[in-house]
């Protein structure tokens, strides 16, 4: 007994001795993000090693607000991410429901095509999407341009299809016998039952929209229509800007998401594990 537990103890110590430095290295950039965001620029560009926060966050934020209307950009990002998440959850679960619960003409083709697009790089559709949205529909610098094209999400559909197809038939048949319409069954029986999956999907979709960079950079490049990551990106690499300000913006984009992550870790991890993100 004692030899067994001492071997376990040694293994446990070795495990922690390996993992702790690795975990600290992994947290280091996040910690430095916070530190930089609280330092005056002459502190960031000083020869000494600074590892602790100072008190300059508000000044840095004011610089950021001066360089780019960051509060406005955050407002756009929040509105777009919320709208996108609601619409995308609805659309992907409707499609997932149809694929899980009905037999219909052309089903194999639809499933095959949706599956097939998973391995297709987004780059292939980027240029025609841009031409179509900007030139043909004249929608550049609008919210519609940010929200609608990314609504196609094949992994989300497969994910919802899976969760709907695991539900027992009797449940829905009972409602059908009562004469309840199909869309009411979907809205009031199936969707509430799929709540854990919906939560996971919603978090992942919100995060994807919140962090999206390339498409908003291309399509909403006018100062008043930029999302927060795009606004922040315009400053990176310029020489006459406040790096403390950029870091304040990075913190404002990251810390709320980290808090959500800690609070909803279970759903978050379930969502990623189910492969709901590209």
């Amino acid at each position: 007994m004692s030899s067994l537990s001492s071997a376990r103890l040694r293994r446990s110590i070795a495990l922690h001795l390996f993992l702790t430095p690795l975990a600290l290295i992994w947290l280091f950039p996040l910690w430095m993000m916070v530190v930089f965001s609280t330092m005056p620029d002459n502190g960031i560009f000083s020869p000494g090693i600074e590892l602790l926060p100072h008190g300059n966050f508000v000044d840095n934020f004011n610089n950021l607000q001066r360089d780019t209307n960051f509060v406005g950009a955050i407002g756009i990002s929040v509105s777009v991410a919320v709208t996108y998440t609601i619409l995308s959850v609805l659309l992907t679960s409707m499609a997932g429901w149809a694929l899980a619960r009905y037999q219909f003409f052309g089903k194999g083709v639809v499933v095959g095509i949706i599956f097939g697009t998973i391995t297709l790089p987004y780059a292939v559709v980027l240029i025609p999407q841009f031409i179509m949205v900007a030139r043909d529909f004249q929608l550049a610098n609008t919210w519609v341009a940010l929200i609608v094209p990314p609504l196609f999400n094949s992994l989300g559909v497969l994910f919802m299809r899976q969760s709907f197809s695991m539900m027992p038939d009797d449940l829905f048949d009972a409602a059908r016998v009562e004469g309840v319409k199909e869309w009411r069954i979907f809205l009031f029986v199936a969707l509430p039952l799929a709540r854990p999956m919906l939560a996971a999907l919603a978090i992942i979709l919100f995060l994807a929209s919140w962090n999206n960079y390339l498409w908003p950079l291309l399509i909403n490049s006018q100062p008043g229509s930029m999302t927060a990551p795009v606004a922040l990106g315009t400053l990176i690499g310029l020489t006459k800007v406040s790096w403390g300000g950029i870091m304040a913006g990075a913190v404002m984009l990251t810390v709320p998401m980290l808090i959500v992550f800690v609070l909803l870790q279970r759903h978050f991890i379930a969502g990623i594990a189910a492969g709901a993100v590209k």
Binding site: W26, M33, M94, F104, I131, G233, G275
Partner: protein, 286 residues
């Protein structure tokens, strides 16, 4: 399961509409555009115009080489690291599991722009904390941004930091779905933990590993934000330019949509080829 054509299509309609307009048509359109000269008005059909240029373009081969280099080095290192993270996080001997999990999974929620900014500051030549730390232990400073090799290494470090935990989540979920009694039986037969990993965990996890590889390869194939923001538009001197960045420069800076479409289709062909090889390899061994 009920046979209801109309109902099913009513549920599918909005999704299929978006899909057709923003995916099916662009996939076809992109292919057509790649055969057009797009810097004349109107665009005209010129079969060899973009593809001929692509084959003789040193900038394309440079971007292709850089992308493949990142792919070949960064993806395997990251998946191996993610595997180590997942195995160790899965260990019953680990205390305060939540804290470690937070450390490795936190980058999953960090946006590319935010972390690109942090990495730029951390790795700057004279003021970056990384060079200061190297100096303080007696090592020379590294000029991360003006030499190609360190700049490529920096891109790989950044991408690995951002995505290793994401892959670890997927691998960990896969490991937890392997039934416990397989390991119990092996332990009773005195099979060592290391052998259990190689003869039980790895083979059972193969589909999940392939899934991670495919996702990582598709992601890396289109790498854009890191060389755009961290190494300043693919610098030094195109040393970190990727296919994703070339596509952006050609399509949206030079407004050369035809050529950019040819680049996009090359990326797709590469991604599909690599994915097929991987699927084939895993099928062979089963």
């Amino acid at each position: 399961m009920r046979n209801r054509n109309a109902t099913a299509y009513r549920f599918l309609a909005p999704y299929l509409l978006i899909f057709s307009v923003f995916w099916v048509w662009p996939i076809i359109s992109s292919f057509i555009i790649s055969f057009q000269a797009t810097r004349t008005v109107p665009w005209r059909f010129a079969p060899g115009f973009n593809w001929g240029r692509l084959i003789g373009d040193p900038a394309f081969f440079n971007a292709l080489k850089n992308t493949l280099l990142i792919l070949v080095i960064q993806v395997p290192v990251m998946i191996a690291l993610a595997m180590v993270m997942a195995v160790l996080l899965n260990s019953p001997l680990l205390k305060a599991r939540g804290l470690y999990r937070f450390a490795f999974f936190a980058p999953v929620v960090v946006g590319e722009v935010a972390y690109s900014a942090v990495f730029r500051l951390m790795f700057s030549l004279d003021f970056g904390i990384v060079n200061k730390l190297l100096n303080s232990v007696g090592l020379p400073k590294i000029d991360w941004f003006s030499n190609v090799t360190p700049a490529m290494a920096l891109i790989m470090i950044a991408v690995t930091w951002r995505w290793a935990g994401y892959n670890a989540i997927i691998l960990l979920a896969g490991m937890q779905s392997i039934p416990e009694d397989v390991y119990e039986a092996a332990t009773l037969d005195r099979v060592s933990k290391l052998k259990q990993f190689f003869y039980i965990t790895l083979p059972l996890l193969k589909p999940v590993i392939v899934f991670c590889l495919v996702l990582s390869i598709i992601g890396t194939m289109q790498l854009f934000t890191e060389p755009f923001l961290i190494t300043e538009r693919g610098g030094p001197g195109g040393g970190t330019e990727t296919l994703g960045l070339l596509l952006y420069r050609q399509g949206f800076r030079s407004l050369n949509f035809g050529y950019a479409s040819a680049v996009a289709y090359t990326m797709a062909a590469l991604a599909i080829a690599i994915t097929l090889v991987e699927l084939w390899l895993t099928r062979e061994k089963q």
